[in-house]
């Protein structure tokens, strides 16, 4: 069935990336930072150096494997922050309405108007490079879609019988939001979150490429691309493998998001039952 394939392929790619990240110390052949050896600089891929070596003679394979840790940490953590912010703002705005809704709406529109990468760039410029600043910058700038979805879902769920019933049964506002509204909008939120993780991985690569994210010598896929920039014609493997890692991870997350959308869609869910 076509519906399942994107879910399976996406899930496999994402799982692979996570496993690689978790098992990096065992999978890597050498230390990604310390094991530089100018004797083997810029070796092309071979049995010895699977993905080749860079200008300092470090094993690209090992660096790509370790890079998964940084990319996934940034992707997952920053998207979690985004999801929490987006859901909290959107849910409360849709539920309470009034001036709070106006404020949240204004803020969301503002965020949508500024390209989030530009915004993250500005934050990075203030905070300086590094993992923590990356997490902050990317975690604060990509919640507007989640917020919109959460708000719209709340508005449509609010009039559902079970939400009314909960109110009649003496549920407080917070309990209604957590037990009645949140679980019923989780499907689209998870889908947006998965796709958002993909864009966070890309954003990390872009920021690191620009020298604002993870700085060399630490191996993030973006910083590796950045370093490989000058040797793209002479030693293309320096760019190809980190690029491929980004590509496969983002592709996996996008496929996973699409696959999840198909199974979490309330319409297809009611069809299954």
């Amino acid at each position: 069935m076509k519906l399942g394939t994107s879910l399976i392929i996406g899930g496999l790619l994402f799982t692979l990336a996570i496993v690689v990240g978790l098992l990096a110390p065992w999978l890597a052949h050498t230390d990604p930072v310390m094991d530089a050896n100018l004797m083997n600089a810029e070796e092309p891929p071979s049995w010895m150096w699977w993905f080749g070596t860079d200008a300092q003679g470090r094993d690209i394979y090992s660096r790509v494997v370790y890079g998964a840790r940084i990319s996934l940490t940034v992707g997952i953590v920053s998207q979690l922050v985004n999801s929490v912010i987006g859901v909290t703002l959107g849910l409360s705005a849709g539920y309470f309405g009034g001036w709070w809704d106006d404020i949240v709406n204004g803020l969301t529109n503002l965020m949508l108007a500024i390209p989030s990468l530009i915004f993250a760039l500005a934050i990075m410029a203030v905070l300086g490079p590094g993992l923590t600043s990356l997490l902050i910058a990317l975690g604060l700038t990509n919640w507007s879609f989640t917020c919109r979805i959460a708000r719209a879902s709340t508005l449509s769920l609010k009039s559902q019988g079970y939400v009314q019933a909960a109110r009649v049964l003496g549920y407080g506002d917070l309990r209604i939001m957590i037990t009645q509204l949140l679980p019923n909008m989780l499907g689209p939120i998870i889908v947006i979150g998965t796709l958002g993780m993909g864009s966070a991985v890309l954003a990390e690569a872009s920021l690191s490429f620009l020298g604002l994210g993870i700085r060399p010598p630490y191996p993030s896929w973006g910083s590796m691309l950045s370093e490989a920039r000058d040797q793209i014609t002479t030693a293309p493997w320096l760019s190809v493998f980190p690029g491929l890692a980004i590509f496969l991870t983002v592709l996996g997350l996008n496929l996973l998001g699409d696959g999840l959308r198909d199974i979490l869609d309330p319409q297809s869910r009611s069809r299954r039952t």
């Binding site: 009314q164 019933a165 909960a166 009649v168 003496g170 549920y171």
Partner: protein, 326 residues
Amino acid sequence: MTGPALIDVEDLRIDLNLGSSRVAAVEGVSFHIDRGETFGLVGESGCGKSITALALIGLLRRPLSVGAGAIRFEGREIQNLPAVEQRTLRGNRIAMIFQEPMTALNPVSPVGRQIAEMFVLHGGKSWRDANRLAVEALASVRVPAPERRVKDYPHQLSGGMRQRVMIAIALACGPDLLIADEPTTALDVTVQAEIIELMRNLCAARGTAVLMISHDLGLVANFCRRVAVMYAGRIVEQRSSDDIFRACSHPYTQGLVDSLPRLGSRARLGRSRLREIAGVVPAITNFPSGCRFNPRCAQATEVCRTTAPETTMLGADGLVRCHHHA
């Protein structure tokens, strides 16, 4: 009865705010329900039954609001209670079940959890105890194999089963008053009878008072000790159920009684065709002056068109709002 009634509604008016103008969707509604008593509210669709019930539990929301009158629960004015106290009243002392058992349950939560939540919320129980009580509650509404059923999601249950779950949720905390807003309208007839019987037994056993809301006079009169008939936002007649068929006074009530199918003498005499009440319910924004029933009333005279009738007491239990009451 000594002391205040369980719930006492006095001269309730519910306003519908339409931006610039304001209309009274419900007006001059008074009734009381004693502890353990069954009281019925009957009327056509749109006459204001549901919003009256919502007013009782303090849950009218814009554009509706209580415009005038008093709603006292055990002698205390509900509207003056702080929000927190209103909330502990709801679900705990006053519970409600609805017309649509299909939509009144959270689709993504197992029914057992939804019952248990009431024990946690109002009973201060731990989840562990609450889950055990939920199984008992499900057993008390005669759901077979309750220990398995608690894990079911609403979509796995039939309409009748869901309404049983709703009853279990509503009665979980042993409320003093159960408001049942058309609890069986969405169910088929045999299931209806079962649900009504179940409610009757459970509420009688626990001494729970019931406010039964329906457009089905037969059902309400059968279930309740006293019945109020509502038309276009006003109570037009209130009677004991025993009297309503024998001695109703208002032409609208008479119309409702005549439109009920019944077995026996009249059917055999060849008058099997049901009589309906001519005309339509007036729109809420366009209530006629005088008696609101006058355009559809065969007995209407000039005074009916100009002056709204006052209520007349009929014995201890009855009242009627008609210029021409018998």
